[in-house]
């Protein structure tokens, strides 16, 4: 590694830390309904939307109502996106004349965008019309991300409030997230991207004749506006097939840096928002520290592995080089973003294995917008429970007793995605339909399958993309994994929010385990790693670990 590359990584982490309180504090004011500098401009629009839709800003919901609203809204989004795809040939804004999307692929893609997974079984420029991309995929990029943020805000209220029955209004949280957080950031970011070369137009594809006289068809389209929210909303579904490795999607090292920063920006900032909303910034920084530490451990292992590998440029772009490809890989798998600027399948086995592990740990290392933090809070509850068991005290979190209902819900949220990954990958490993999609032989074939289901259930969306995922088997099963991985965590998280909101706060006593110090950070990290390791170590050892060992001894397949 060169000094310059180390400087880039240091700059990245430094900016992330600096932005966290700035954006986090702003978001706390937004979701608290307080005045911000954008309020004069946006409040009229916000109120107009409430009037049109027929909700009141001060009408709050119980956790069940909140969950119902969220699920219904997401199902409606799914239906719209599905219909747009299967009918796109007859709809306008389709200059390339792309045909209707097959129903199973459309099911998979609609699920994938509604659940904030953004798995690409399709190739952007060869499958989706401009209309489908704009009012279908693009809209879900916004609202699925906003749904995630809404859930964590509701969960935070549940932890912060005392003897309350309501946890906020889904509709208000959704609208505020889109209007005050996503849109302003996206407008600025999209224009910066265009200034660097990301395309933004409605032209037909351009026919060029190359220097050697061959014809080359250059894709066009409204890419920048979609890429901005794709990164900021930890969506990750590319405008083009190869995602942010495509020069039109990520043309310069500067766009690469900014696209990487925006992967972790909101998930990191939400930890600060959380701290503000529960009345103790330390509680937020403690979570941030645990996330950052896990992120750095993974990053260092990945860098070490990749720089030790031969042929490290396979699947990477010259303008990014190895360090920026690995940094992106670590960020996108930690956050459930799933965009890529290099092909994870061609990473050295250990680097690819860490990417896979980042996803398997539950997408809580920063994680998806909102999703990462509510996942982390679930682990925090498990941590105080385990700490309580060790010393024989009733576990408490933020002064509230953690009881059997919360633990049941937390366990459900941890087990559902994990079970999905292992059971579905096992099914794929013993059926022809599952095995025939592999692109690489040997242990890497198993890694491809494991990665696919981890990515689906973890709502990540990146892939060991050799695997041919556009088959009925994978389109169907991965779609199911995404639904379970998304709502199998959201509903328990809201259930915890609802029951915690009702509780009283007891003043801390000498027996209270403090959750705002280094000991808690260490325990929280240990719980995440132990749960992940116990669940996935056998599978990982048959995939990336054995592959790295075989590679070291010179075996190829």
């Amino acid at each position: 590694m060169t000094t310059l590359e180390l400087v880039q990584i240091a700059l990245y982490l430094g900016l992330l830390i600096v932005c966290t309180p700035l954006l986090g504090g702003y978001m706390a004011r937004v979701f608290g309904g307080e005045r911000t500098w954008l309020t004069p401009m946006l409040r009229p629009a916000e109120n107009a939307i409430y009037r049109l839709v027929g909700v009141r800003a001060d009408e709050e919901q119980s956790w069940k109502q909140y969950a119902w609203s969220l699920v219904l809204f997401n199902v409606a989004g799914f239906v719209l996106l599905f219909v747009l795809q299967v009918a796109q040939h007859g709809l306008p804004l389709n200059p390339a004349g792309l045909p209707n999307v097959e129903p199973l692929l459309a099911f998979n893609t609609a699920t994938s965008f509604v659940t904030n997974t953004n798995w690409q079984a399709y190739g952007g420029e060869t499958t989706m019309s401009y209309l489908t991309q704009m009012i279908g995929l693009n809209v879900q990029n916004f609202v699925s991300a906003a749904s995630g943020v809404a859930v964590v805000i509701a969960m935070t209220r549940g932890l912060a409030r005392r003897q309350a029955s309501a946890i906020g209004s889904f509709w208000v949280d959704l609208v505020r997230c889109v209007l005050y957080v996503f849109l302003p950031l996206c407008l600025i970011f999209a224009l910066v991207l265009v200034s660097q070369g990301v395309i933004q137009n409605f032209n037909a594809y351009t026919q060029a004749t190359t220097l050697t006289g061959e014809s080359q068809l250059l894709p066009q389209g409204p890419a920048a506006s979609q890429i901005a929210i794709k990164q900021l909303g930890t969506n990750g579904g590319g405008f083009f097939n190869v995602n942010s490795a495509h020069p039109f999607e990520n043309p310069t090292p500067l766009t690469n840096f900014l696209e990487m920063l925006t992967i972790l920006l909101i998930p990191a900032a939400l930890t600060y928002t959380y701290g503000m909303m529960v009345g103790s910034k330390r509680q937020g920084w403690v979570i941030f520290t645990a996330m950052l530490a896990l992120f750095l451990i993974g990053l260092v292992v990945m860098l070490a592995s990749e720089y030790g590998a031969m042929g490290a440029m396979e699947g990477k772009e010259t303008r990014f080089g190895i360090a920026n490809s690995i940094l992106w890989g670590a960020a996108t798998t930690s956050a459930s973003n799933g965009s890529v600027n290099a092909m994870h399948s061609s990473f050295s086995p250990l680097a690819g294995g860490i990417a896979l592990l980042n996803i398997m740990l539950g997408e809580v290392i920063f994680g998806g917008v909102g999703a990462g933090l509510y996942g982390m809070l679930i682990f925090a509850i498990l941590t105080v429970f385990i700490a309580g068991l060790m010393v024989g005290r009733t576990p408490e979190y933020l002064g509230k007793k953690v009881e059997s209902w919360e633990i049941k819900m937390a366990i459900l949220a941890v087990l559902l995605p994990s079970a999905c990954i292992l059971l579905f990958a096992a099914l794929a490993s013993v059926t022809d339909a599952g095995l025939s999609s592999r692109a690489n032989a040997g242990p890497h074939g198993l890694s491809e399958i494991l990665y696919a289901f981890a990515s689906g259930a973890g709502n990540n969306g990146s892939a060991f993309a050799g695997l041919n995922a556009n088959t009925p088997f994978y389109n169907g099963l991965l779609g199911i994994a995404m639904w379970i991985g998304r709502f199998g965590v959201i509903v328990p998280a809201l259930a915890i929010a609802g029951s915690m909101a009702r509780k009283k706060v007891a003043p801390p006593s000498s027996g209270t385990f403090p959750t705002d110090g280094g000991m808690f950070v260490a325990l929280l990290m240990a719980v995440i790693v132990i749960v992940g390791a116990l669940t996935f170590f056998p599978a990982l050892s048959l995939g990336p670990i054995v592959e790295q060992l075989l590679l070291n001894s010179g075996r190829v397949f």
Partner: protein, 208 residues
């Protein structure tokens, strides 16, 4: 429940208008006014003809089944970009538009090892590079997009002798041109030093 369903549908329509119509149209309008060239694909023209995009790679070397370089006569006067896993897909027809793609080969894939050995041999032979000089990794391993417009300065320098010989140019002229087209890391910080192959090749053509 019914009320929530109705709210869901109206909310979806409203937010679709805001984020799916208003937002991309605003960005498009602003982009077309402020940065028309980059918003439309950074197209490179020679006269009235579009020869490509400054961001999309084009002249590269691909191997035949036997490991020979495909179409060597046509590409010999130019600097070559990186191998592309979708070489054959590049703008072959309107049904398969300049599609992007990568090999996704694992490091333990035997086919990758074989391809790289063949590419290295072919590149050494065509450019007369002795075994004592290492070939930069990106020149023999395929890119992530299949459309990588750049190579490292070292990879460009290795091709200078061939290009100068085929074109009958002074070596020093070509050396000067290559060095002129070496881009430093952006703002001195971001990314890697690199050479844009299409822009270099266009400048080469303009020399004559």
């Amino acid at each position: 429940m019914l009320r929530q369903l109705r709210i869901s549908i109206v909310m979806l329509i409203v937010l679709t208008l805001v984020t799916g119509v208003l937002y991309p149209l605003t960005v498009t309008l602003a982009a077309q006014v402020a940065f028309p060239e980059s918003a439309n694909g950074s197209l490179v023209q020679r006269g009235a003809d579009v020869v490509g995009s400054a961001l999309i790679g084009q002249v590269t070397y691909a191997l035949t089944e036997d490991g020979d370089i495909n179409n060597l006569d046509a590409i010999a006067p130019y600097f070559w970009g990186r191998p592309s896993a979708v070489n054959d897909m590049l703008g072959s027809s309107a049904d398969a538009p300049g599609s992007s793609g990568a090999s996704n080969y694992a490091s333990t894939n035997a086919r990758l090892a074989q391809l790289v050995t063949q590419r290295e041999a072919a590149f050494r032979a065509a450019n007369d590079v002795p075994d004592t000089i290492a070939i930069p990794s990106e020149m023999i391993y395929a890119s992530g997009s299949g459309l990588d417009p750049h190579i490292s300065p070292e990879a460009a320098r290795l091709q200078i002798d061939r290009v100068a010989a085929v074109r009958g140019l002074e070596r020093t002229t070509v050396v000067r041109l290559v060095e002129q087209y070496v881009e430093a890391p952006q703002w001195g910080i971001f990314g890697q030093p690199r050479v844009n192959v299409l822009l270099l090749n266009l400048a080469l053509d303009q020399l004559q």
